[in-house]
Amino acid sequence: MKKFFAQTYLWLLLALLYAPIIIIGIFSFTEAKVLGNWTGFSTKLYTSLFSGGVGNGLLSAIENTFTIAIIAAAISTILGSFAAIGIHNLRGRKRQAITLLNNIPMLNPDIITGISLFLLFITLGITQGYLTVVLAHIAFCTPYVVLSVMPRLQQMNPNIYEAALDLGATPLQALWKVIIPEIRPGMISGFILAFTLSIDDFAVTIFTKGNQGLETLSTFIYADARKGGLTPELRPLSTIIFVTVLLLLIIINIRARRAARKAENI
C-alpha cells in the first residue's frame, strides 16, 4: 500500500514535469499555427523545418548552435585534458589556485559569466560575434572537462608512465600511448558534457554574441518569443532536441555502467 502511494506520487510528479514537452511533441504533428488546435495528423512542420520553409533565421541559428558547440567542445576537451594532466602533477599552492579558478565558472551564475566576459571583450575592444561566443563557451565548458578527466588520472597507476619512459619512450610517445588511452573515457564524457552545455547555453551567449546578427538556437527562440508569436516549427524542433538529449543521456549512462562493471571485474 505504501509502495502504491509512493509510486503514484513519483509518476504524478513525472507526468507534471513532462506534460509541457509531451504537449509540444503531440502538437508538432499537426499544422495549426496556434498550439492547442488539432487540425489532423501532418508532418508538414517537420518537412518545412528541414526544407527551410521557415526562412533562413531558424536554420542558420541551428547551424550556428551546432558548429559553435562542436568547436567549443573540441577545444575544451584538448585544453581541459592537458590542464588536468598538468594539475594532477601540481602540488601545493599552485594546485589550489588553479583548482579554485577552475571552479569559478561552474559556481558562477550564467548571467555573471556572461556579463563579465562582455566587459572583457568591451575593454579589449574586440568586436563581438562568432569568435567571442566560441571563446566564452570554451571558458565555461573546459572546467567540466577537467572535472571528468581528473578522476581517470587519479585511478591511473602512476608508474606506467615512468615505466614507458624507462623503456625508452619519449614523453610525447608516453602521452600518446599510455596516458591518453587511460583517460580517454573521461575525455569522451567531458566532450559530450561540454557539447550539451554549449548547445544548452543561453545567458552567456546573449551577452557575447554582439549585434552583428549572430543567433544561436536559444537566442533565436528568445527573440521569437519576445515578438509574441511562436514560430510553429519550434515545436518539431523542441521535440527533436528532446529526443536527441534523451539518446545522448542513454549513451552516457550505458558507458558509465559498462565502466562500473569493468571496474568490478578487475
Binding site: A6, N89, A139, S238
Partner: protein, 262 residues
C-alpha cells in the same frame, strides 16, 4: 631525473592557467572595476548610491529574493519525498524513473519555459505570478531532487536499522536519522536551485508576458542599454548574495561537485 620529468608534466597546466587568468579572473575583476567607476573611468560610488536611492531597483531585488526563496522551499517540499522514494529500494526499483527525473536538467531552459507557456495556454491558465512560480519550480525541481537522491543513496543504511533496532518509531528514524544524514544533499540542492532562480532573466519575461521583472532582467536591461557601470554594480550585488549563500555549504565541497555532475 624523476623530479625533472614530473616538473615538465606540471607545465602542461600553463596554457590553461593563462586562459583562466584572461577569461575567468580578469573578467571578474572587470566587474568590480566597472562597478566602482563612473562613465569616464573615475572612481565613484554613484552606481551603488543610484541602486539604494531607486526604490524600483531595490523592490525588484527584494522581490527576486522572495521568489527565489519560495521556489527553493517548494522544490524541497516536492523534491525531498521524490528523492526519498527514488532512493528507497522497498518503494522503487526502477532506474528508469531516476533517469526520467534527471533528464529535464539537460534540456534547454528556454525550450522548457516555452513548453510551460504552451501548457498554460493550452489549459487556459493566465500568465502572471502563479505561472511564474509554477514555471520556476518546474524548471528547477530536478536540480533539487538529484543531489538529495545522491546523498540518500550513498547513506549508510545500517544506521537506520540501528535506530529501528533501538526502538525508534518510523517517524523518529526519519527526522532524527535520515533527514540529518541527507543535509549535504539538501544544501547542495538549495545552492543549485536558489542561485539560478535569483539570477534568471529570460524565464520571468516569458512566463509573465513581461509584467513581472526580476533582478536578472534589470541587470540585463542596463547592460543592453549601455549602462555598463550600473549593470556591473548590480551584478556585484548579486555576486555578494550568492557568495553569502554559498558560505552555508562551504564545508561540503564534495557534495557540491557530486550534485553538479551526472
Amino acid at each position: 631525473m624523476k623530479l625533472f620529468k614530473s616538473y615538465r608534466r606540471s607545465n602542461w597546466a600553463i596554457p590553461y592557467a593563462l586562459f583562466l587568468a584572461i577569461f575567468v579572473a580578469l573578467p571578474l575583476l572587470l566587474i568590480v572595476i566597472f562597478a566602482f567607476t563612473d562613465n569616464s573611468g573615475e572612481f565613484s560610488m554613484q552606481n551603488f548610491i543610484k541602486f539604494v536611492t531607486q526604490p524600483e531597483a531595490v523592490n525588484t531585488f527584494i522581490y527576486s529574493i522572495g521568489i527565489a526563496l519560495v521556489t527553493t522551499f517548494l522544490c524541497i517540499l516536492l523534491g525531498y519525498p521524490a528523492a526519498y522514494i527514488l532512493s528507497n529500494k522497498n518503494l522503487n526499483r526502477s532506474q528508469t524513473a531516476v533517469m526520467l527525473f534527471i533528464l529535464p536538467m539537460w534540456i534547454n531552459i528556454l525550450v522548457r519555459t516555452l513548453a510551460t507557456v504552451a501548457l498554460f495556454d493550452f489549459i487556459h491558465i493566465p500568465l502572471g505570478e502563479g505561472a511564474l512560480m509554477f514555471g520556476m519550480v518546474y524548471n528547477f525541481l530536478p536540480f533539487m531532487i538529484y543531489p538529495i537522491y545522491n546523498t540518500l543513496q550513498k547513506m549508510d543504511h545500517s544506521l537506520i536499522e540501528a535506530a529501528q533496532d533501538l526502538g525508534a518509531k518510523p517517524s523518529t528514524v526519519f527526522w532524527k536519522v535520515t533527514v540529518p544524514l541527507s543535509m549535504p544533499g539538501i544544501t547542495s540542492g538549495i545552492m543549485m536551485v536558489f542561485m539560478p532562480t535569483i539570477s534568471t532573466f529570460a524565464i520571468a519575461e516569458l512566463l509573465t508576458m513581461n509584467n513581472i521583472k526580476l533582478f536578472g532582467t534589470t541587470i540585463q536591461e542596463n547592460i543592453n542599454n549601455g549602462m555598463w557601470n550600473y549593470g556591473a554594480a548590480l551584478s556585484l550585488i548579486m555576486l555578494v548574495i550568492i557568495g553569502i549563500t554559498s558560505l552555508f555549504s562551504d564545508g561540503d565541497e564534495q557534495s557540491q561537485n557530486e550534485g553538479g555532475l551526472l
